[in-house]
């Protein structure tokens, strides 16, 4: 029985984490966007507006659940749950520290991709269930975008998997630090197994993975419908896209899913390319920084630090770049990202055969 209790506790902890992260990201996004636009952002609720996110959530909790008369009620009610659960289940296979992973699946990354593809279905459900032409248009755009961008994402992830020879995220992480038992070569030549640190990350083990990371990062922005790929929820054209009709707690769930998705794709990128919970500090002679800064606490610290940096990058990009047009979005995916990612996969195969 304890066995199941642990599972439930881990699931609760992950849920609490996503909720807290969403609150934090909400506040930081508002602040960062404000600073970039020479504003101050929320200042009134709490010191420097720090309780603004809580106030927003409280406001959302009080709101009425509105179901449009013409809506397909079952689909309308189920959609936010499916959207959130599909993202939330993805957290199950992510490694947080050495030996600390909710579910060590040997299919980890594949599982996450399968689960994330369910989100598409939830979005279609929301769009159809709302019975609103803007919602339907938004969900159509969203699905077209997500299905297309899954290809470059998947292929660039595959190029990492080919280098790492594993689908298990924990093993992929271990292979990028000092805890590994295999040889690690910086740029394929210099053995850095004992040195570790930033030199052992996947992007530095095989330099073409830097391009793969760029592809992954851009495609992941599109996967979580963030600007500049936010045409599914373009406020100015579609008044919010597939979640137009949602209010109150249901809207909060969609919001939660969006921000959790940001964290999730950021963390997958960090785990696959940027060393996961491995420390960026290398061992230099007798100064064994890498050995000192590896452990459960340090692991959580490093992965949070790296992922939050990636999330900050996502926010930064959102408030800098304007929105793509639909045709630009599609041609960018199919004409630039997909061929490039195939090239990366090809190089990965050759690299694996010749350099490792």
């Amino acid at each position: 029985m304890n066995f199941y209790l642990t599972y439930v506790l881990v699931a609760c902890a992950l849920f609490v984490f996503t909720a807290l992260f969403t609150l934090f990201a909400l506040y930081s996004e508002r602040k960062i966007s404000a600073f970039m636009q020479d504003r101050l952002g929320p200042m009134e609720v709490g010191k420097y507006g720090s309780l603004q996110a809580f106030a927003d959530i409280l406001k959302m909790l009080q709101k009425e659940f509105i179901i449009p008369t013409a809506a397909d009620k079952i689909l309308f009610i189920l959609a936010p749950i499916i959207i959130f659960v599909s993202v939330y289940l993805g957290f199950a296979a992510l490694p947080w520290a050495p030996g600390l992973i909710p579910a060590s699946l040997n299919l980890g990354i594949f599982y996450i991709f399968a689960i994330l593809s369910i989100e598409t279905l939830g979005i279609l459900m929301a769009g159809w269930g709302s019975n609103n032409k803007y919602a339907l248009l938004g969900s159509m755009r969203s699905v077209a975008q997500m299905v297309s961008y899954e290809i470059p994402t998947g292929i660039s992830v595959l190029s990492v998997v080919m280098i790492s020879q594993s689908l298990n995220l924990q093993e992929i992480t271990i292979r990028q630090g000092i805890l590994t038992s295999d040889a690690i070569n910086f740029l394929g030549i210099w053995d850095v197994k004992a040195i570790g640190g930033i030199l052992a990350w996947n992007v530095f083990q095989a330099p073409h993975l830097i391009i793969a990371y760029f592809i992954y990062f851009i495609a992941s922005l599109a996967e979580c419908n963030r600007a500049p790929f936010d045409i599914p929820e373009a406020e100015s054209e579609l008044i919010g896209g597939f979640h137009v009709e949602y209010s109150g707690l249901r809207f909060a769930f969609i919001f939660l899913a969006e921000y959790s998705m940001m964290f999730l794709v950021g963390m997958i990128g960090v785990v696959l390319f940027l060393g996961g919970w491995n420390t960026p500090l290398p061992n230099i002679g007798s100064l064994s920084l890498a050995n000192w800064t590896t452990g459960i606490g340090w692991g959580i610290f490093w992965i949070l630090f790296k992922t939050l940096s990636v999330v900050a990058m996502q926010i930064w990009i959102r408030w800098t770049l304007p929105r793509f047009r639909v045709d630009q979005l599609m041609s960018f995916c199919w004409k630039v990202l997909t061929p490039l990612s195939f090239l990366c996969m090809l190089i990965s195969g050759i690299w694996r055969l010749t350099m490792m």
Binding site: D72, L107, L124
Partner: protein, 177 residues
Amino acid sequence: MNTEQLIFYFFSALLLTSALMVVSIQNLVRSIFLFFVSLFSLAALYIFALADFIAITQVVIYVGGVLVLMLFAFMLSNKELLNSLQPIKKSFKFYQLIGIFICLAFLFVLVSLNLQIDFSNLSWIKSSNPIMESDNTTHTIGILSMTRYLLPFEVLSVFLLMALIGAAHLARKGKKT
């Protein structure tokens, strides 16, 4: 009955009820969303047959691909098609009765055959070494698809390319006449 069996029977019941509802429900869009439930619970059954890779492939391809494609095909097509997809009359037709009869006959044959065989005493099953829960089936599948099943694998990839080109050709807008 232990937990494993409980979960197995729960998912198989979910699969069969949702499949029945998919074929009996009138609202087509809802029935496609229900199709998702049955495909997902089918993936769960694959895991009980110790085929985790197949299960996740099922989710990726069916849920992420086929279902979305089906819904997309609908919603992209014009409103007339949507209206014609939702029949108004609900009366029970004679041909449906025949259909049910044929299906029940098929079911009877299949199940009775199934019950006649004592699977645990079959010689080839006895002599085989079954996949254990600790095995890494992904590893095996990877190696096998590059060695023993290389030819079907390659043929499949060519077929996929054909399907891709064919579907794109069929779905594109013809020249305006």
